[in-house]
Structure formats: structure tokens, C-alpha cells
Amino acid sequence: MYSKKVIEHFQKPKNMGKMKNPDAVGEVGNPNCGDVMKLYIKVKNDKIEDISFETMGCVAAISTSSMITDMAKGKTLAQAMKISYNDVAEELGKLPPVKMHCADLAVKALQKAIKNYAGTKTKTY
């Protein structure tokens, strides 16, 4: 059902865990599938300097969370905002169609974190 890459990220997730003193947090959830994602970011010079996640969810939810943190790390906020769920799914090799919403959830969590960060500043993204 899942690609090797998905299982890899599920078994050894990157950037996993709560962050101390994050600059912003994005939390999204899908009560229907039971997935809840929390993304923490630290920003320096408009760049995502550090990022981590906490996800309560299925295999796909955990691996998409892990993957998006990997993809977003080091990117500018503007670049990170452009990451799409297709990008995440592609990086993971393949996601079962019924699990595509997990990639979407990860994207939304990241965008929410960035928007929340923007909310603390006067600048908007």
C-alpha cells in the first residue's frame, strides 16, 4: 500500500518533536480521519531556520509531516508557501489516493505556521 520512502519517513521521521520557543506554530486537524498535525517554526532573515512537527495520525500523516519539514527547512518563507501537496506526495514516491489529504494537511499546517508568524510581524506574506 505504501512506498518505501513513506515507510522510511514513518519509521525514522525527521524533525520530530515539540520545539522550545518557536516563532510560530501551525496546527491543523481532520477529525474525520483522526489526524492532527502541529508544525513549529523558527525564522531568521525570512528563512525557516528550524522546523519540527508533532502528528497524531496514520502512517501517511506522519510521513508527510516528516517530509514537509525536510522540504521546508532552509527555504525562505515565500518559497515554503509555494510547496504543494503534489510536491510532498511526489517526494514520497507515491501516496495512495485515499491518503492524498494527508499531504494536503501537511501543506496547510506549514502555511498556517507561516501565516501565524506573519501575524506576529507587520509584514504579510
Partner: protein, 391 residues
Amino acid sequence: MNKKKSIYLDNAATTPVDSAVFKKMQPYFFEQYGNPSSVYSLGERANYAVENAREQVADFLNCSSNEIYFTGSASESDNWIIYGLLSNRKKKIHIITSIIEHKAILEPCRNLKEKGLAEITYLPINESGLIEINSLEKAIKKNTALVSIMYANSEIGTVQPIEEIGALIKKINSKRKEKIIFHTDAVQAVNYLNCDVQKLSIDSLSLSGHKIYGPKGIGALYLRNGISINPLIRGGGQERKMRSGTENTPGIIGLGEAIKKVEQSKSKNQSIKKLRNKLITGILKDIPNSQLNGSLEKRLPNNAHISFDGAEGESIVMELSQRNIFVSTGSACASNSLSPSSVLIALGLSREQSHCSIRFTLGRQTTSSDIDFVLKVLPGIISRLRKISGR
């Protein structure tokens, strides 16, 4: 494939075919391949074997062999009793069932309601996972044609008060002109519970081969003599004109042999229950914030259904499967539906809790060291997933 021994704890999904059962089936693929309807000796021998299997099933249910119809699955049997009722009754029929039935009952009911052919009452369950007799009695109406209550639930393993329901309907029927048919889906019950249809006052019962160490693709419907339903599958008139289609001879022989073995294996049930209890006790002791779902007493001896707060079911299944332990989720998230299990919601679990549930179903092949291994690896798995979820 990994060479490590696999630990199969999903016996409610399906069971391996017993080797003795397989041996009995084998000749009917090769030497005894005749069509049971053929008049020459090759056909006669197949027919004899089919009738012998029918006797075996009838013996198990304590009914007459002409009350047994072989079908392609228990799902077919369930569909048949519902759709088979239709054109016999002029008025719109009323069906009473429970909210936790198998889809093979729920879907035909939904379909009939959608077409305006039946009204359906779904009985709720209490926090033990059981229906209340009172609510059943109150639900009965003038046009009630069928009461369908599953014997044991496939997900949480709770055992419904079938004997009481049977007695109630029998009593009510004695004062009614249009009799109510009492049907039970006994697929999960056959292995472990008494299925004497006389003692339980059951009019109709579905069972399946592959849940009782028999083959897949074979089921049966017991239908009490005197109850008339229409055929679902029409054609060559097999099964006394009630279920057409050339008999699945090896499957039928396998089902007969498997059900005979169930009777002989009853003594093993106690040891399965002991192992199951060891699993439940071990999990609840070693893993905080875990809970057993459904009654412990009114439960199949091989079922343990447990929720782990903060660890999602599919992730647990995947982690266990990496260690060659095969279980299933309480939630349907792993399949094509994302909605949480309606059985668990009916039981009163939150959506999150129902997504965090696992069903372990033991079988004849389960050993004490299997359970030890599960108890050894599971706490680490749950704590890793809780770390990821931050809960």
C-alpha cells in the same frame, strides 16, 4: 518475505484452512470433479459428498439437513434473507436490526429503505456493546417481518443475548398471524458459541467457511422449514430450487469438515480465552491510557479490542506488521473509508479514540510465546507513536 515467524492475530478477518479440512477437499478438485447434478456415478459421488456436508452443518446447528442451503458467502446469506422476503409481503415491510451489524445486513437494509420498500429500525447498543431486549420489544410493529441481530460482533466481539431474543420473538409470534423471522449473522460465533437453533429459537442463520478454518468462497444459510423466501439467484435450480449455480463441491466439503472440527475443538476455546486474557491484562498493565472496548464477560473468547490514546490505529498496525505481527485497526482508515468505525462510535467512543483502536483476534494456532512477544514490543511502539503525536 521475511523468514521470521509471523504472528497472526487477525482471525476475525479470516483463518487458515485446517490441513485435515484441506485433505478432505482435495479429491473434489481432481478425481471427484463431477457435477453433483449429473446422473452418472462421478456426479453421484459428488452429490453424496455434498449431502454429507449438509448433514455435518445440520448436525452442528441441530436442524434438519433440508434446512441448510449452501451459498457463496455469509454476505450472500445475509442479503438473501433480506431481499428474499420482499415480494412475499404486499405491504411495506419493517425490519429491526442493530446499529453494529455487519455491512452485509446494513447495506441491503439501507438499499431497501432507499427504494421505499422497507422501513428499518436500528437498535442502539449500551456501553457494554449489547442491545437491550426492552428496546427490541418496543420496536416491534404490526408489519415487522424480520429481526436481524448478529450473534457476535466482528469488531469488538461482544455477544448478543440471542437466546433471549429468540424466546421473545417466539412468544410474540405465538400471538401473531404474520410471523416475524428471527435471523442471526453467526459468522463470528460459530467457532466459540452454541449455535443450536432449537435451543436459541433462531429461524434463520448465516455462517461462513473461512472464519472457521475452512475455505473462502463458501457460506450457508439455515432457514427453518415453513418459512418461505424467494431465491436470490435463479437458474438451474440447485439447492432445492432455492439457490442456483453449480455447487462449489470442494468448498461445501470443506465447510462440512470445518464445522465438524469446530465441535471437536471446543476444548481449545478455554486455552484461547486464557491467552486472550493474558494479552488484555498485559496491555492494560504495561501501557498507560489504554482501555478495553466492550464487555469483557459477554465477549468472544478470542477477541481483544483496545484503544490507545494518542497513537493512531493504522500506525500501530504498520509498526506491528514490521515485526511480523498481523492485527487490524478498529478504524476503517486503512481501507477506502476515512470515517471512524460506526461500531466504536455507537459504543460511545470519541472519534479520536475510535481512530486509536486495535483489534486482536486469536486463533487455534496462537501460542503463549506469541502473546509474550506482542506484550514485549507493543509498549515501545505505543510510546514511540505518542512521542510523535506529542500526547
